[in-house]
């Protein structure tokens, strides 16, 4: 039988910080921005979760719930480094590993034996080699594997077969379903649904009328139908996106400043795309206003692009169409999607962008030699000083740290 194993690291960022600094073990560690800023909690140790602190919560709210919490700015390079070690470790158990995010991955295995001993060996290897813990969900459905990895955290191992969906999934609340947040749950409530089972028993036509194609997908998930495959990084070129977003210290109402920020983001997205030898055919702009109202606005491009100039030109048009700066902007993001490899021959251009294509490799070489911020489009300077790499938390000092002993 073919199984998907969902490996979900427990309180990943906070656990890494506790591992690095033993004085923080057993204490409420909260990874995110400083409490005085407008950042959110990225990860909370289980000691902090006991106070109600959750990932995604504003840090000022976390500080209110857990004033004795140890607020740590986070260290993305450490987390990425550990994630790569996790993926390599998992590849020893199966060649088919799909990194789902920095702290979770899917492993596809085929066995006619009991799959749980294999799951326990994976957990033991993670604990021995990374000194971190993970929770595993195992199923003959990738989606169910993800759902059930959360059933018994931390250090849990849950096996859920599709045949057990009525018994084990249907009694659970709607939020178990992928993509169901507060708003979708409210609309499902209006249809008379309070559990996953209610969604499964609803006629699919009713869900399709309410949610469109998403409704059909919800019905499939609630019923345990999932045509899945684990997508390894080498297979995922078309599915991935390359994006960057930036939360501003202060709300911005000036179009020129938002454009300058977009210019900087375009450079970073373009640089990453070229590094990955990818170009994208769709660009999506994300904007959030001071009341947390968020929109995304995208466009499919006539050809795949990977230069900052082309990405920025499209981003400006998208911004113009939204006129979002009039509401105030607190977050701006860009995402390049529908990625294709650029290793193959590319269509020649006869306009200004062809110059950008020639320029970009030179710019990349300058950045490789002198650093990421050595050169860039002048347009991005209007947003203020160019942020330096790793400067998201430049001056924050965590509060008083208790000491063992």
């Amino acid at each position: 039988m073919r199984y998907a194993i969902h490996v979900d690291m427990d309180a990943y960022f906070a656990s890494i910080e506790q591992l690095a600094n033993p004085h923080w073990r057993g204490k409420p560690v909260i990874v995110g921005g400083a409490p005085g800023t407008r950042s959110a909690v990225a990860s909370a140790s289980y000691e902090a979760r006991a106070f109600g602190v959750r990932a995604g919560m504003p840090t000022h709210e976390a500080q209110r719930l857990c004033p004795q919490g140890i607020f740590v700015p986070g260290n993305s390079s450490h987390y990425v480094h550990t994630a790569v070690r996790l993926y390599r470790l998992l590849e020893r158990f199966s060649p088919r590993v799909e990194p789902a995010s920095i702290d979770e991955a899917y492993v596809e295995v085929v066995t006619e034996d009991d799959v749980r001993p294999l799951g326990r060996r994976i957990m033991a290897s993670i604990e021995a080699e990374l000194q971190l813990t993970a929770s595993l969900g195992i199923s003959d459905s990738k989606y169910l594997a993800k759902v059930c990895s959360a059933f018994d955290k931390p250090r849990g191992l849950t096996l859920l077969h599709r045949a057990e969906v009525p018994e084990k999934l249907w009694p659970r609340p709607l939020q178990v379903l992928f993509g169901v947040g507060e708003k979708t749950a409210a609309r499902l409530h209006a249809l008379g649904c309070t559990t996953v089972g209610d969604v499964a028993h609803l006629p699919v036509e009713a869900l399709e009328r309410e949610f469109g194609i998403v409704g059909v997908s919800l019905h499939d998930l609630a019923s345990g139908r999932d045509r899945w495959r684990v997508v390894t990084p080498s297979e995922s070129a078309d599915a991935r996106s390359i994006g960057h977003e930036h939360t501003l210290e202060e709300d911005v109402y000036e179009r020129s400043v938002v454009e300058a920020l977009l210019c900087g983001l375009a450079e970073r997205v373009a640089r990453r795309a070229r590094r990955a030898e990818m170009a994208g055919r769709r660009l999506v702009l994300k904007l959030r206003d001071p009341r947390f109202f968020t929109i995304t606005h995208g466009r499919v491009l006539p050809r795949a692009v990977d230069t900052a100039e082309e990405i920025f030109a499209t981003a400006r048009l998208l911004l113009e169409e939204t006129r979002f700066w009039e509401r105030g902007v607190r977050l701006v993001g860009l995402s390049l999607q529908l990625l294709v490899g650029t290793g193959a021959a590319r269509q020649l251009r006869f306009d200004f962008a062809a110059g950008a294509e020639k320029k970009s490799p030179v710019v990349d070489r300058i950045r490789s030699k002198y650093g990421e911020h050595a050169i860039g489009l002048a347009r991005s300077l209007e947003a203020g000083e160019r942020p330096r790499r790793g400067s998201e938390f430049p001056t924050f000092r965590p509060p008083e740290v208790g000491r063992d002993g």
């Binding site: 600094n21 004085h23 390079s77 030699k369 740290v401 002993g405």
Partner: protein
């Protein structure tokens, strides 16, 4: 209290089975002996690698050190200064 320090330091380190391992450093005219490396990771600055180490000293003090592969310098990036 964890403090950001960002000061150059002198470090004694050894290369062992393909790994770089700091074992002693001098800072503020004091010598600290590293009892345990509790974390090691890396990132890049330009084309150069930067190796980061979180360490505990004999006195159970916590520090983070950073080695720059371009100029072979060590920086004391963070320190836990309270007892």
């Amino acid at each position: 209290m964890i403090e950001s320090i960002q000061e150059p330091i002198e470090v004694l380190a050894r290369f062992e089975r393909g790994k770089l391992l700091p074992f002693r450093f001098r800072w503020n005219q004091s010598v600290f002996r590293i009892a345990k490396v509790t974390g090691a990771w890396e990132d890049r600055e330009g084309q150069h690698r930067r190796l980061h180490f979180s360490v505990l000293t004999d006195n159970d003090d916590y520090f983070e050190l950073r080695f720059h592969s371009g100029d072979f310098t060590w920086i004391l990036s963070k320190a836990s200064l309270d007892a």
